[in-house]
């Protein structure tokens, strides 16, 4: 763990001036040094620093910036929350439970009770993958600017079954699975002002840039997250399967948002977590449900379609069956 300077940013504007790198940039430019990076609660950052994966020169704290920890919900605008809102705050929010059930389930099943009390949603979306090679000081992998992906020939039981060719790390945020299913947007603030984009566009595949998981620029921070108002009759659910039922990372997780009219499904959004380097829409499965009455048989068929085209690795064939099941069960639980 390296020594670093610490400063509390008084405002978003100041924070943007103070920072000069994202965490991924700080990692691949480690030999240059001089990285000034932002942190929220710092749970993932501290983990990376302790492992020697990143060694910032200066850490800029965002927690005290006024307004970043606000949460609002109303029927006209939907849900919006700042990046400093903790996971526990979302998990315990009654409106979230009532209106965005899948998000409630995802937040309530994330990490440990202790971490949920500390970790923020901004940090959750920006955290780095849990791949054990990426997290190991002894493995200089593609994601850290090296030239090998150790997971390709190595222990890949927890890795992706889609988009595995370059770097099969799965996205570490299981909450993102639910957020993408709700068409959540993130607001990014940078030197040139703000931009809003869908979370599904924010996350990027390794082919875009293997060293990071999103397109946040060097001096950009997430300043807001919004979920649209849902059409009446929308039902959602989320299931995460870890090796353990107690605190665990996801082996596979699925979020389902169904717009229902009576017993008929008008539209469906189905997202797979821990299946690909980004939360992945299961478009064929979504298309299948459109305009149909949900039955167990249909849900099972959706499960099959959801894993179509998967390219499992040596040790994770089980994920195919797992996702089939989770998709089926999430659909049935949602309606």
């Amino acid at each position: 763990m390296n020594r670093f300077e610490y400063i509390k940013a008084p405002s978003v504007g100041e924070a943007i001036k103070m920072m000069n790198s994202t965490v991924p940039e700080a990692i691949i430019n480690a030999n240059k040094g001089g990285a000034h990076i932002v942190k929220a609660a710092g749970v993932d950052l501290l983990d990376l620093i302790k492992e020697g994966v990143v060694s910032p020169d200066r850490v800029i704290d965002l927690r005290q910036i006024p307004g970043l920890d606000k949460l609002n919900f109303d029927q006209q605008n939907g849900l919006s929350f700042g990046p400093m809102v903790t996971i526990a705050t979302l998990a315990e929010n009654k409106e979230v439970y009532k209106n965005y059930r899948a998000l409630h389930e995802a937040t309530a099943h994330a990490a440990t009770p202790q971490i949920r009390n500390m970790a923020t949603m901004g940090g959750n979306l920006m955290q780095r993958p849990r791949c054990w090679y990426f997290r190991s000081e002894g493995h200089h992998c593609l994601k850290k600017g090296g030239d090998v992906c150790f997971a390709q020939k190595g222990q890949n039981q927890l890795h992706a079954i889609f988009d595995t060719q370059i770097c099969p790390c799965v996205h570490p945020s299981s909450i993102a699975t639910a957020l993408v299913a709700f068409d959540a947007k993130v607001e990014l603030s940078g030197p040139d002002g703000k931009r809003n984009l869908l979370l599904s566009e924010f996350f990027t595949l390794p082919e875009a840039n293997v060293t990071c998981e999103n397109n946040a620029q060097s001096k950009e921070i997430i300043t807001n997250i919004t979920l649209p108002v849902l059409k009446p009759g929308t039902r959602s659910f989320y299931i995460k399967q870890g090796q353990r039922e107690s605190y665990d990372w996801s082996m596979g997780d699925v979020a389902v948002v169904l717009e229902m009219e009576g017993k008929q499904c008008k539209t469906a959004r189905i997202v797979l977590g821990a299946a690909a380097p980004v939360p992945m829409r299961a478009s064929k499965a979504e298309a299948l449900l459109k305009g149909k009455t949900i039955t167990e048989k249909l849900a099972a068929k959706a499960g099959e379609l959801a894993v179509e085209g998967a390219t499992p690795m040596e040790h994770n064939h089980y994920k195919i069956q797992l996702f089939k099941t989770l998709v089926k069960r999430s659909i049935l639980a949602a309606v």
């Binding site: 763990m1 390296n2 020594r3 849990r130 054990w132 090679y133 190991s136 002894g138 493995h139 150790f150 020939k153 190595g154 222990q155 039981q157 927890l158 399967q241 090796q243 353990r244 039922e245 107690s246 605190y247 665990d248 990372w249 082996m251 040790h315 994770n316 064939h317 089980y318 195919i320 069956q321 797992l322 089939k324 099941t325 989770l326």
Partner: protein
């Protein structure tokens, strides 16, 4: 004495051989309880030393022993006041940190520590020439630190994490920084970390030459003189229970049914919450050590030998320690390094391993591949058992698994061949019921297969072939509590299938005679017991208080327990479930002798015979004249001296030993029942319920015994379903060297556990107690495996039973 010197008598013992049995000046005959209350309790006469206390009645006639007694040190644990080794802070104390090998196999071409030495806040740097006490984990009763290799001045690196050099600095962080400043040039060499790969011809050799090192795990496999070919060492064909029996081939020829299977178990790491570590304070007159250890004396003995110090000049203190499970014996490489750095720097040095070091270098339960074959007659009689096993303890030894197959059921034809396989991985260490846990997973599944072939209920079949009286009672009581009802395998309809299973375990009744305690009665009535024995979380402090209180007619809370310090008489190491059976007889005997001294003074004062006096409920009274009565406290106020004190040691078992000076007659039996749910669509297994029926001789404190049984079961759940050291074959690293990806059971994985504790008297000693640590852990994984088979109708032969294996067994993937 003088005569012996003059006559040069040739002693009938080899130079390193210790004296065996002990003769007593005077003996007496006493009658002791023997057997199982409610089943076959009787009395047995034993001839014992004349200074032994009278026989202790069965538990229901006692007032403190055998009663649920609150842990006397719990208050310090729940308030955070308990000081563990990791909590020790001494004036001027430095922090030690290792540079460790980043390669699984390499030679060091050059090493430059100058930048580390110059780093601000660094006080001492030391490069290891060899790795003492570390490459080989220590075991009970091994008195000398072993060393495995010496190549020039610098060690050959044989696993990722092997220590190279140590640094002492003003903080843990500064020490870490300095470690990173050490420049090493490595010559990397081919390596192998996988069991199967290591056995192949032409596999990279872990050791070029034949190595003789102590076995790691208290189990067979690494015995001296065994053959070595490639990375294979063995076979070992026996255990302390003896060697092969009968004619196995003929046994199979005469069998009507033969079952066989290949079973595999994984490497399990201990994951004690407090890591291995030591605080060393080298002073000219005394080396003081705070150690997180299961044996204070093993640490003292190691360091005294290595640093050429008399035993009297090394003091080891373990007031509280945060779990060991078998891996914490001896000084360890960290302990030796801490002492060197303390000596070099002139400061106390604390060297606690971090979690990654703990996972990779501090011990593990070796894995196993077991080919087990059993032949039976039509009536179920066991005709032949044949076992071949391979397992790796990394660079260490001790991967044997055969004792359960050899000893649990009577079978006149038995043969085993056990091989250790060297790999470039951290050394194994003893781990809660070493060998038996692995062996039980195989044996108890095959026994179930036989029962099925014979169309017998698994319990009924075990009734037939199992000679153990204690397990007979455990099966009966366990089945009642569990509500055991035979169920067709795979008969549940639905996606989540329930299943039930049972498995049995056994563990020898081991004690260490090198176990002593002093009891001191002070004026004013305070009573102390002192011993070097340590409490590793099992409750040793409390059972010592109970035993002394029972003898003196006091309450457990009246006794001050001072243990975990080699200043006091040596206690046993706490491993192999030896502690209760070893130290409580010494404690009772010392209490009895101190009591006799006090009663002697009272008898003198009251002008009665000592034999007429007794102590009960805080009072001393004359049996012949109950008006003669005085409180214990008042009596001590009249003592002629400020203190009365007696020291006693563990005598040999009253009935002698079955093997050596440690292994007693009869066994600690266990029978565990499990109920599981298997989700056939996800492959996820959940253990819903466990009924665990156990014996541990005379149960001293059922409250603590329950806790230990729970702990054994939960560890077994982890072993069965979750835990696995995952090695990357390409780079030789353990990829889950943390508590995040190394999966242990947490709150929601805990089944509903019910305990049955059976009193079993064997007239072994003045307390007749035994331990429960290992027995609690032996049968769980096997019971779960049998329950999984019962649920889904397909057997799983490999641990841990993770979703991928379940789905593969169900042929879903």
């Amino acid at each position: 004495m003088a005569d012996i010197n003059k006559k040069k008598i040739v002693l009938p013992l080899a130079p390193n051989e210790e004296f065996g049995s002990v003769k007593h000046l005077n003996t007496k005959k006493i009658k002791l309880p023997h057997g199982i209350p409610g089943h076959n309790l009787t009395e047995i006469e034993r001839e014992v030393s004349a200074d032994e206390p009278p026989a202790l009645a069965v538990n229901d006639q006692l007032s403190v022993v055998g009663k649920r007694t609150k842990r006397i040190d719990a208050i310090y644990k729940v308030t955070g006041a308990a000081k563990y080794t990791s909590d020790i802070q001494l004036p001027g104390m430095l922090y030690g940190k290792f540079l460790r090998s980043p390669h699984p196999h390499a030679k060091i071409k050059s090493i430059d520590v100058s930048a580390a030495e110059r780093h601000r806040g660094v006080h001492a740097v030391h490069i290891l020439s060899v790795e003492p006490g570390g490459a080989v984990q220590r075991d009970n009763g091994h008195d000398a630190p072993a060393e495995t290799y010496h190549v020039d001045k610098l060690p050959v690196l044989r696993y990722v994490g092997q220590p190279i050099a140590g640094v002492a600095a003003i903080s843990d962080k500064v020490a870490r920084e300095a470690v990173q400043l050490i420049k090493v040039e490595y010559e990397t060499l081919p390596f192998v970390v996988d069991l199967d790969e290591a056995m192949k011809k032409g596999a990279p050799l872990v050791f070029e030459e034949k190595v003789e090192q102590q076995q790691t795990g208290g189990d067979v496999g690494g015995e001296a003189g065994a053959g070595q070919q490639g990375n294979l060492r063995g076979p070992s064909i026996g255990s302390f229970y003896g060697g092969p029996r009968g004619d196995v081939d003929q046994g199979f020829n005469e069998s009507d049914i033969v079952v066989e299977g290949e079973f595999r178990t994984q490497v399990q790491t201990h994951c004690a919450l407090e890591t291995h570590g030591i605080v060393a304070d080298w002073q000219t007159n005394m080396l003081t050590i705070y150690a997180s250890t299961q044996s204070t004396k093993s640490v003292r003995n190691d360091l005294a030998e290595l640093f050429d110090l008399p035993l009297s000049k090394v003091r080891v203190i373990t007031e509280y320690m945060g779990g060991g499970f078998g891996a914490k014996f001896g000084a360890g490489h960290f302990g030796v390094m801490a002492v060197v750095l303390s000596k070099k720097s002139g400061h106390p040095v604390k060297l606690m391993l971090d979690r990654k070091e703990e996972q990779t270098t501090a011990g593990n339960r070796p894995n196993s591949q077991q080919m087990l074959k059993i032949g039976v007659k039509k009536d179920g009689t066991l005709q032949a058992i044949d076992l071949t096993s391979y397992g790796t303890a990394g660079i260490g030894l001790g991967a044997g698994v055969g004792r359960v197959a050899q000893d649990m059921y009577t079978c006149s034809n038995f043969r085993m061949a056990q091989y250790d396989v060297f790999t470039h991985a951290g050394p194994g260490a003893a781990f809660r019921a070493p060998g038996n846990v692995q062996g039980c997973f195989a044996l108890e599944q095959l026994i179930d297969e036989i029962a099925e072939k014979l169309n017998l209920d698994p319990l009924a079949y075990r009734d037939k072939i199992d000679q153990s009286e204690i397990r007979k009672v455990e099966r009966k009581k366990g089945a009642e509590k569990f509500g055991w009802k035979r169920k067709q395998p795979g008969s549940d309809s639905g996606v989540v299938k329930k299943g039930i299973g049972v498995a049995q375990g056994h563990w020898p009744r081991i004690i260490h005679v090198d176990s002593s305690a002093t009891v001191r009665i002070n004026k004013g009535g305070s009573v102390e017991i002192m011993s070097g024995v340590q409490d590793i979380g099992t409750g040793t402090k409390t059972i010592l208080a109970q035993v002394v209180a029972e003898e003196l007619g006091l309450k457990a809370e009246d006794i001050t327990v001072k243990i975990g310090d080699t200043t006091y008489p040596d206690g046993p190491g706490s491993g192999g479930s030896v502690t209760a059976g070893s130290i409580t007889p010494a404690a009772r005997n010392a209490a009895y002798q101190a009591k006799m001294q006090l009663l002697g003074q009272v008898a003198g004062g009251w002008q009665v015979e000592i034999a007429d006096l007794d102590m009960e409920k805080g009072e001393i009274f004359a049996k012949s004249d109950t008006s003669k009565r005085m409180s214990f406290v008042d009596a001590t106020k009249k003592m002629r001296t400020n203190q009365i004190m007696a020291t006693a040691s563990r005598p040999d078992d009253y009935g002698g030993f079955e093997v050596g000076n440690a292994i007693g007659y009869d066994r600690l039996g266990s029978v565990q029942f499990a109920e599981v749910s298997v989700d056939t669509e996800t492959g996820v297994i959940k253990v819903d319920r466990v009924v665990a029926a156990h014996s541990c001789g005379r149960p001293l404190n059922p409250l603590q015994i329950e806790s230990q049984i729970n702990g054994g079961v939960i560890m077994g759940v982890g072993y069965a379903l979750y835990e696995d050291r995952i090695m990357d074959k390409e780079t030789g690293y353990m990829v889950n060297a943390n508590l995040d990806q190394y999966k242990l059971p947490y709150s929601k994985e805990i089944p509903h556990i019910e305990n049955i504790i059976i009193e079993q008297y064997g007239a072994h000693s003045s307390t007749d107690a035994s331990g429960i640590g290992e027995p609690a852990n032996v049968a769980t994984a096997a019971a779960i495996a049998n329950a999984v088979y019962n649920a889904i109708g397909v057997r799983i032969y490999e641990l841990p039973m993770t979703p991928d294996k379940v789905l593969a067994a169900l042929q879903v993937i």
